[in-house]
Symmetry: C2
Subunit: 425 residues, 2 copies
Amino acid sequence: MPPKAEQPPARTAFLFGLGDELLRGDHADLNSPYLARILREFGYQVVETRVLPDDQPAMVRALREASQRASLVLTTGGLGPTADDLTRHAAAEAAGVPIEFDEATWQWVLAWYLDSKRVPPESNRRQALLPRGGIALHNVAGTAPGLRLALGSATLFCLPGPPREVEPMVERELIPWLRAQAPDEECRHTLRVFLASLSESQFADEAGPLLDRHDDALVGVTAKAGRLAVTITTLDRTPQAAQHRAEALQAQFVERFGASVYSLDEPDLEQVLGRELIARGVRVTAAESCTLGMVAAALGAVPGISAVLDETYGTYSNAAKTRTLGVPSAVLERFGAVSEPVARAMALGALERSGADLAVSVTGVAGPDGGTPEKPVGLVWFAVAWRGKVLLAESRQFPPASRERVRTWASNWALHALLRVLRSV
Amino acid sequence: MPPKAEQPPARTAFLFGLGDELLRGDHADLNSPYLARILREFGYQVVETRVLPDDQPAMVRALREASQRASLVLTTGGLGPTADDLTRHAAAEAAGVPIEFDEATWQWVLAWYLDSKRVPPESNRRQALLPRGGIALHNVAGTAPGLRLALGSATLFCLPGPPREVEPMVERELIPWLRAQAPDEECRHTLRVFLASLSESQFADEAGPLLDRHDDALVGVTAKAGRLAVTITTLDRTPQAAQHRAEALQAQFVERFGASVYSLDEPDLEQVLGRELIARGVRVTAAESCTLGMVAAALGAVPGISAVLDETYGTYSNAAKTRTLGVPSAVLERFGAVSEPVARAMALGALERSGADLAVSVTGVAGPDGGTPEKPVGLVWFAVAWRGKVLLAESRQFPPASRERVRTWASNWALHALLRVLRSV
């Protein structure tokens, strides 16, 4: 029995995560928050999300209810080749249509296996089943095709479970569909601003009225260990007008936050830094004490960084700072390892030893032990040296919440300090 | 109107995450998977989880439905002091009881503020409201008291939203309640086994019948980049019998997987390794090429590691391998940087330079570029040296899915290689 054709409210969405492994708590449903953020950019309100077991009658009941409460229903999971992958069958039953073998979809599944030089097991034929009237959605990252299907007066999208398969399908199938559905008189434009070395509350204080909500502009913020992602979405009658409004708002953030802004399009601070280093041929290194290896590991995440990175230093003990970086013992004894003179000497020593152009040093008290009244847990000194001169030396007192948080904050701060100096020379 | 007193199936649970911020996708509902894992240990099956908006009528409807479908209903979120915190009111309405100011609960809220030398705003009085017949649950990490309430023939627990407040309340209130509810003739015992350097499919192949499900023993597995966590839960008539069965099953895993087992209680491989190094006073170092800093950063995450860690080496270029680790140029030229002789020379050079007892080296092709037919992306060589001798040298071909995955696999492999050698000397 198909659902009654009641008209659900426009631009409302109902999300499902499907699979016993989610209910067992093996992992969290991370697809639903990701989809919610995408949908928000297109003006959709998510009315509810549910996680259901691999149980066809339960799925059918819930899909029908959802199709009466929202105009768009999205599921993730349950599209695999095994008998407990029931999403396709539940969708067909909820829509009241038969399920049929689709030769074109089967060719996709076969092509996926051919690419990886394997032969698909017979069970994979299940993945080529398609409810009548449905559209198969190409999966570029796995064998499970997605599905779009009318469900009463709502539209149902069934997406795979693994986020690495969901994201390309959303980019290639869902977002173009959302764009095509948007009313002519309403155009949205979304821009981003990425900032570093700020806490969320510092950001909110400084942003002030830029964060106010208006009907035609929405600003969202997510924050993690000093890295912030700002999403600006504007609404207007033409694409040009929406774009101009978004650009104007983005420019206000850039003006307000200056050097805290590290990118307008790339969320990963290390990728931004690494690409600028590579593009300019600036050779880089890092000398780390409390973050031991974290700054190096972030730089190492950038493809092609070997063109500008020769070596990095994890100098934990005072002896190592002296032996490898040439920090004078007298300086260590007089000021202590967590001090401006030692941070400066570490950065200069790293430059000299590696022959790089640009070096950052990090020395601090990560905790949980080792803090003193003068040098509490969370105090970290940084220096950045450029071709034989220290251009930046500063300390921060990070919240001493945990050793990992102090180290992550300090590592992000060091990467951003490198970028700030790089952009100033 | 209270729900009809239909009897829901025993030991079933229905979970809710409450709050607009979850539906907007600001963050994922991480409480539900956490609660699911706790509940599983007590034999509960989670039948469904939902995320609902801050909307009292919607909450009331869903709570009533849940109380007919599960014997235990858990909510997280919506217990704060502001007007959009509606969980207490929704619980009272769903149960058909009035909501009343509770002086004892108010004293808890006051005490929380006194501890932090602040005065509670008047709005906090809302947090001392309690549905009649309900039990307030003490929050040791925040002002929001929890709530336990009969809901039809089900039991409702309302918990706060932030995980750091949820976890102590679960430990202090939910788990003792679950223990008290367990039938006398049924005792559960849970043990863990943590393994490294195995993929999930290798594990499943080798474990074979150890993974079969039985009514009285449940084995769950989670896997990430070569680290696996196995949870064994057994059921028997006495605590001793359940414990013996769990220990016997755990011993079978230990026997089957041998050196792959790195711990029976600590999930973090780096903590296990670091603590054994510290306890034995074994001085450690790492020489890293493709993982640049990742092994060092993992060691640096261990509190107190400075007692046995002097310095680490990020030697990316051939020149750095020669300059800092003394790898002969001729060896690099003849065998290439990704080779057994270079891995061996790096480990020995790191020992010599640092004066440590134990060193690991990592050199591989992280990708996405730089692979060749002979040395494809994902090929990584490792060596571990102990006091002047190489005791382990091996290569792995990791799946070339992404640069980050190759590096994470390689870093985990290197940490486990250190532990395997440490336990053999």
